[in-house]
């Protein structure tokens, strides 16, 4: 793949956290490029720096060293408001917890992203939210609140919330950790479908090895060092 087609690049990213008097470096000189329409999986044990890498690439955390380029533009050179607007236009997020508003229905969880983020009129927001929920197999659960949904259904609503605005890049932090594999597999298939159908880049960090067959590229992160060797390619899986 040509470098100029990448949608997101991290160059020599280094980051550390202060713990009392000492500092712990959680990422060492990590470089990574993501291309449109691919699903990239970064694996590693707990504390390996996976989530920090996701936070740095997505603009939620500023790297101590290195730079993040999005369509060739340095993310941290943007003003905070512009950076946020950039996230609004291009990024979707799926976090470990579902983090759904308890009072709102599945449909409303998606609607607010469109109405508050893009100023989409109520009618259009409802249509788009319903379309995604139908796609996620939640057509009959649109008016239910989180307390009335199973864990798998809640995660699918969280995925819908990330995908409803048709992001360029969708970041997922341990999307299957709270699910049994039957539901987890469905979630991964949905993300894979989004990458294929919408041309969205899906960046997953997880320690769940069962996701590997669905990824185009798989990297291993341990103690803050990224093994640049593509595990999927060497295993003959994925379509990088």
């Amino acid at each position: 793949m040509a470098a100029e087609t990448s949608c997101l690049e991290g160059h020599r990213l280094t980051h550390s956290f202060r713990q009392g008097e000492s500092r712990t470096t959680v990422l060492h000189d990590v470089s990574l490029a993501l291309w449109p329409g691919e699903m990239v999986l970064v694996m590693g044990p707990s504390g390996s720096g996976k989530s920090t890498l996701l936070a740095l690439l997505s603009g939620l955390l500023q790297p101590e060293e290195g730079e993040v380029l999005i369509f060739g533009e340095e993310l941290w050179r943007l003003r905070p408001a512009a950076r946020k607007a950039f996230r609004q236009r291009h990024f979707g997020f799926i976090f470990q917890g579902y983090n759904l508003f308890p009072a709102l229905t599945a449909r409303e969880q998606l609607e607010i992203v469109l109405r508050w983020g893009e100023g989409v009129p109520a009618g259009e927001a409802r249509t788009r939210a319903d379309a995604i929920l139908d796609l996620l197999g939640l057509g009959t659960k649109k008016t239910l609140r989180p307390a009335q949904l199973s864990g798998g259904e809640k995660q699918r609503v969280a995925i819908g919330r990330a995908l409803v605005k048709r992001p360029t890049v969708c970041f997922a932090d341990e999307p299957t950790s709270a699910l049994d594999w039957k539901h987890g597999q469905h979630v991964v298939e949905l993300l894979r479908a989004a990458a294929t159908a919408e041309g969205a880049t899906v960046f997953i960090v997880s320690h769940d090895a069962r996701i590997i067959p669905y990824a185009d590229r798989v990297f291993h992160l341990e103690d803050g060092y990224l093994d640049s060797h593509d595990l999927a390619a060497s295993a003959g899986m994925g379509t990088p």
Binding site: F95, N99, L104, V113, W116
Partner: protein, 372 residues
Amino acid sequence: MSYSLTTIWHERKRFLPGIVAVAFSTLLILFQGGLLVGQFSLTSTPIDHTRADLWVGHPMNLSVDLGRPIPERWLCQVAVQPEVVQVETYVIGLIVVDRLDGRSELCTVIGSALGDNSLGAVRELTPELRGLLTEPGSVVADETELGRLGFERVGDVAEVLGKRVRLVGVVQGLKSLAAPYLFCSVQTARILFSGIEQDQTIFILGRCQDPANASAVVQRLRKEHYLSAFTSDGFSNQTRIHWMTATKAGLAAVWSAILGLLIGLVITSQTLYAATASAWREYAVLEALGIPTWRMGMTVLAQSFWIGTLGLAVAVPVSLGLGELLGLVNIKVLFPIWLIGPSAALTMITVLLSGLFAMRSLRLVQPAELLR
């Protein structure tokens, strides 16, 4: 239904303290204000229950019951005004009544003309009572205040500055704030007030052909004749405001209202802050998705708006109901629109302010924390 209202309904246990605080502080303001307005409206009873459109008195006059003598010849200057069709004298003042049991009571003696078209006689004085009052030394009092004046029944007597007065009848609904009203003829009042000369009066009352012209007459009397003149509404307001400020009761009510508002502000602010802080994860996801912070702030403000609206929806009917209840035991509580409107507006402003304070909790929202 708006997302904010949906949230309040779904998490009503969490938001209830805020709603109760707003309702309670509004109730405090409204009810106290209503009580104050109701009670001080009693000070202008002699004005509000008569037919006069114009009141002319001493330039230093502060209220209806604190009048000073003026020359009776000023009557002519009022009478010659083209809009004025009737004038008469009116004697009123505070005086000490010596009860037969030896105790004393301050009361307000009101001496007015007693004819059928009298301007100064209160509406409650029936022709029969007005006829009885023509006898010098006769007085009428409100039935609820007989005990304070030392009267037990019609026909009883008391002494005013060594002069005997006899109760010839009673009226209802003319209770005073502090000094019970004693209604009598101008002649009786002159006898009781030894300080008033025969060619003096306390007020000159006038009636206009068209009451709508009273204001213009008042302006002319002030400008061209240098008289201290008022319309009946204007004088009624001045009397109430004078007593409200003179007794510091108004000030006490304002401080109490401020205290109520502060309590409402703190509790509502804390309720909203806690509600927003507890949803920080959900807000953090929206923050990560690039939703503008001001948009989330608007949600908190909308919640504060609904808390205020619900609080008012409870406080206003409860205040009105309590007012009605007190009315049953002869305690006057009034809720004019100029009291309810600003009280409601003040409550909403306070609640929206508490929403602004609560928005601080959105600063805690850091999406990167979701990745820890």
